[in-house]
Symmetry: C2
Subunit: 246 residues, 2 copies
């Protein structure tokens, strides 16, 4: 591992792995081919999966998809030394599940520093849902249930914001059932926290490439800068320029 | 405060303060009149409210309702010594909001032990939503966002189970929008935890009275004993008998 040798990060973080009605990662295929160019083997982190499927089975889901791109997939749990696995990885993909569980597992193995270092060095990273959440400053805008304890809310801190994946617009028909809307929850978050939130609707993703943080997908994203500054941001926007111009 | 003088707890914990289409606490009125018989002043805990409304304004909401029952309402924040306020209270009502915030505020002031003691002594307690969550063993089945850090997930531990308020049945029309269903989340919880969960649908509540823990409301509750034992339980069931017969 080369320390202090920072390259331009190559990151794709998506709200979801599977768009409603679509197939696993299909909507990202075009960008993933470029993103993982020259990658022969990908390291998959299945830790977010909270039961219902083993780490092996979850890794197989990723494996089947990436086989089509001629990329081998290895599960991090297959290695005796998970830190070593990240140090040597050509690329890393962290799948979704429960963010509390993912964060706990990464802390338990002290993997945040090495994963952060590798991403900052330019190792291609892909995250979906919980795997996207952890690229922000803290996991405090997760939608997940605190089914396990975490030592801390701090995550990779690659981006100067937090992610709210699966952002859902308030809808009259849903209000009856759902208690607080996502919008209400994120405003409540802003009463106690200053870190902005990028709320990604299903099918939206952020593609960090060539020094830009491009917002992609069919829908606009919703950015919570502060209680007084909440914006809808169009597909194609460079979030880095936007954030640093605030 | 009389220590070690345990009476039969008098508790009403409700999924929500306001049933859809109804008015604040209205559906509980009949039971509240009996529950708070001889209570002249109620202590209200507004700590769960995560902004949007001051503690004063939130307390006023409760005050307006209880005025109809000839019960005065004092906000715990109006007292310089919140521990003292609980020790002297004739009854306590904890309102809903964000469970992480409520738990943090109670830990910050070291109020869990005194509140637990008073409830076990037989002081009437009312909780809605977050205020219900805290009567269980841990707050790990909250639906709320972790907008603040909590020192621990442990709560009052009055009941030998956890509460999932606002339980929502899986519905095909909602699935498209919501990611994991509540049922999926609670099963994930059971992969890592052994404490059973009482999932209360809107309008359901538990009324601890005369040594029974009666399930009330129009809808059945859903009890997650374990991954292999999930049951629908009818209105009128004594949860204590049910739980201790498992």
């Amino acid at each position: 591992m080369k320390h202090n040798n920072f390259a331009i990060p190559k990151i794709i973080i998506a709200s979801t792995s599977t768009v409603y009605g679509g197939r696993y990662l299909d909507y990202l295929t075009k960008d993933l081919i470029v993103h993982f160019k020259n990658v022969e083997e990908l390291l998959f982190i299945p830790y977010a999966r909270p039961g219902g499927m083993t780490h092996d089975a979850y890794t197989d889901v990723a494996r089947r998809f990436f086989k089509k791109l001629n990329i081998k997939v290895k599960g991090i749990h297959e290695d005796n030394n998970s830190k070593d696995a990240i140090e040597k990885a050509q690329a890393v993909f962290t799948g979704g599940g429960n963010t509390f569980l993912l964060v706990k597992e990464l802390y338990d193995r002290n993997l945040f520093p090495v994963l952060r270092q590798r991403i900052l060095e330019g190792m291609p990273y892909l995250g979906t849902s919980a795997g996207s959440n952890i690229t922000g400053q803290t996991m405090q805008t997760t939608n997940d249930m605190p089914i396990v304890k975490v030592p801390d809310y701090q995550t990779l801190g690659i981006f100067p914001f937090n992610i709210n994946p699966h952002y859902l617009d308030p809808a009259p028909g849903l209000l009856k059932h759902m208690g607080e809307t996502r919008d209400t929850r994120l405003k409540e978050y802003l009463h106690f926290n200053t870190i902005p939130v990028i709320a990604l609707r299903e099918g939206s993703y952020i593609h960090a490439i060539a020094g830009k943080w491009l917002l992609k997908g069919k829908l606009p994203a919703r950015i919570y800068f502060s209680l007084d500054d909440i914006r809808e941001v169009e597909n194609g926007t460079d979030l880095k320029t936007l954030l640093f111009s605030v």
